[in-house]
Symmetry: C2
Subunit: 216 residues, 2 copies
Amino acid sequence: MAQLLKVQNFNVSSDGIAAGFGDLQTLESPFGLPSPERLFGWAGATASWPNRTEPGGSRGLDDFLTRDFTHNIGAEIMGRNKFGPYRGPWENEDWRGWWGDEPPFRTPVFVMTHHVRPSYRLSDTTFHFVDGDPATVLAQAQEAAEGKDVRIGGGVTTIRQFLDAGLIDTLHVAVSPIELGSGLHLWKSPDELLDRYHLDVVPSPSGVTHHLFWRK
Amino acid sequence: MAQLLKVQNFNVSSDGIAAGFGDLQTLESPFGLPSPERLFGWAGATASWPNRTEPGGSRGLDDFLTRDFTHNIGAEIMGRNKFGPYRGPWENEDWRGWWGDEPPFRTPVFVMTHHVRPSYRLSDTTFHFVDGDPATVLAQAQEAAEGKDVRIGGGVTTIRQFLDAGLIDTLHVAVSPIELGSGLHLWKSPDELLDRYHLDVVPSPSGVTHHLFWRK
């Protein structure tokens, strides 16, 4: 069975925006957006969301999508801006991601950056820092995934880079019914991908519309 | 985390019928229905269907539902009519289910019957035969599941029995756009469950409408 490269639970506005422009990202505003929970709130409301700490939560359609987050995933690839708000050479190695001592990945994670630093482990997640083109980083992640699939976690610039390289097999993008106007676009319209992907458009009772793409 | 009892990928017609009347079931017609693939064909078209032997298959909405089939499932409960077409005392123990040498369950399976027989193993699946009320059988299955969830596989009479006992936590029922007229009903209308369950109704591009229930 081939190892897939998958986008999962990625959130954009109705006008295709996933984050604010890069200089708006700060320690207090990881997405560089006002009220980013308007984009990802649907996921947090489900029973299976990996970061859920309280019991309860919905078990309908949205829960199938969050429950799938870890299914057969053996590694994640992320861009440096998903990893943290700092740019350029590391002043020190104190920053270890946004996720505290129990990151939700529980696999090797490959952070793409021109400024590599030593790998480290937090609970079940090991962070590696790699400087390479998408195909090379994917090969590293697939080897670490030991036969399982690889998640491409974002941010949006990293996903576009892998889309442009033709490396992504499936994408789940949740489109929220809010318009943001300015920021970093995943797309102007999901139709941009239809030359290369099949698409199921699935409105959820929660208000988001799940867009499920898979390679033609 | 509580162990859930779940119905997954259960198929009914638009008029709520899941199988022909019991005396129509034969070795050649496990469902006692003409063309039962009209009910479950949507699942076989997906990439993740456990019985798939060829590459390919869709990876849209329907695939999320079939992919979830084995997720965190530690045991299955089924009725005797799902297990086979024979009724009453076993003439011999030659019948070992419909599924050949590699049953798709890969967990302990508890077959409810008044005519118990010794357990046996086929590949990763062990079949146990138990004579008990739903709550007792559920307790046995939950112990065997070692903390994971339990699937209630059917047939429709068994599911109704567990519904009546108030033991089912979530149900995924795929409703196909065909009317069968006569047979064994899961329901007259899905609304019958709304006093006890939340419901997401999710039309799939494949033509079936997924009904996702979870306990209030």
